[in-house]
Symmetry: C2
Subunit: 208 residues, 2 copies
Amino acid sequence: MKKVPLSTMERLPAYLRVIDSLVSHGVDFASSAQLASRAGVSSAQFRKDMSLLGASSGVRGAGYDLAALRVEFRQALGSAELVRFVIVGAGNLGQALAASSAFRRGGLDLAGIFDVAEGRVGQEIAGISVLHDDQLEEFISANEVSIAVIATPGSSAQQVADTVVRGGAKEILNFSPVVLQVPSTVEVRSIDLGVELQMLALHARNGA
Amino acid sequence: MKKVPLSTMERLPAYLRVIDSLVSHGVDFASSAQLASRAGVSSAQFRKDMSLLGASSGVRGAGYDLAALRVEFRQALGSAELVRFVIVGAGNLGQALAASSAFRRGGLDLAGIFDVAEGRVGQEIAGISVLHDDQLEEFISANEVSIAVIATPGSSAQQVADTVVRGGAKEILNFSPVVLQVPSTVEVRSIDLGVELQMLALHARNGA
DNA sequence: GCATGTGAAGTGGTTCACAGCA
DNA sequence: TGCTGTGAACCACTTCACATGC
């Protein structure tokens, strides 16, 4: 049961959006081919994912019951239990992240936003008061925050990482272009926006 | 020579940063183990990457000549030729992206920023005047822009994608939570910030 | 008959382990 | 001796192709 591949899990939110969209148009049954093409994957991929998930909403010769699928996806994503997270860095990126509706979905709870700049501390973003980094460690342990999103400049990223780890955070989503050094018990996911663009540039050059 | 795996290419920027940092501390020789641990990969991984790249700066029993490595990485990344790109959407995320120093590296050239909001058109961001989306298609074809970064709300993402494709863009970096439908000649890379967090939330639940 | 569900084959990338060389 | 360079084994995921069952 624990054997669902990570890559399958990463596709579930996209599947969920496709289903929501179809349901809101009054559709409540669809084939793997229809669902897959809207989600940008192959139909085999989609069926394999269903198989791996142990989903049982498919009907041979007919398609999938969307309402049932939706339920299965949601519980696979574990949306029951709320997971608290904080955003460190209230600059443009931090604000963009806080505003992102995506973060309101899926059992996530934005518990706090932190920054070091006097001008930003005390401001309200997404209905939450920005606190000073000084209070970060205590806030994390007091509120049992398990995830920290680092949206600071690279120069302070490692320091922030150390702080949140001391506070007890177990996962870090890192947007700075720095490879963070953390204990192996802490999971880090990094998104380096520069790297993403460079990969495209590479394609642009090769393709042209 | 074309056989360098994508995943190897994605690690080069991180390697480059590690090397730059070491060089600036006066180091000019290092072993695969030292370099790899700072870059957050295994030493075997690092050596394999060097092997696949055809790099020849390693000295058996000693380590790697950092200056020579740096040259090889840079040319592997093709930093000679400038690739032009535009950012569509001048909200928080668009501004964060425009400000990102990462985009100034690696032979990338931010040619324009676009938005639909009256209040934003005409503003200066990162030294560039924000233009209206109306001019997007023409701008792309006139300036031979090959990459478009979509930082708009999901509701307009597909429309923007259609526009940039008509203009002649060949690659799209998509930050909206929408699966874009584009001709197969166009390469799309998507970053859904919500999905990234959800994956961490998943770990948080399972780990705890 | 038609679309699902799934073993089997294929693909791409990582790790292992050791031969080769300064 | 120590560390690189690399074939070979391994692993995770994807695609194929077909048996299965509504």
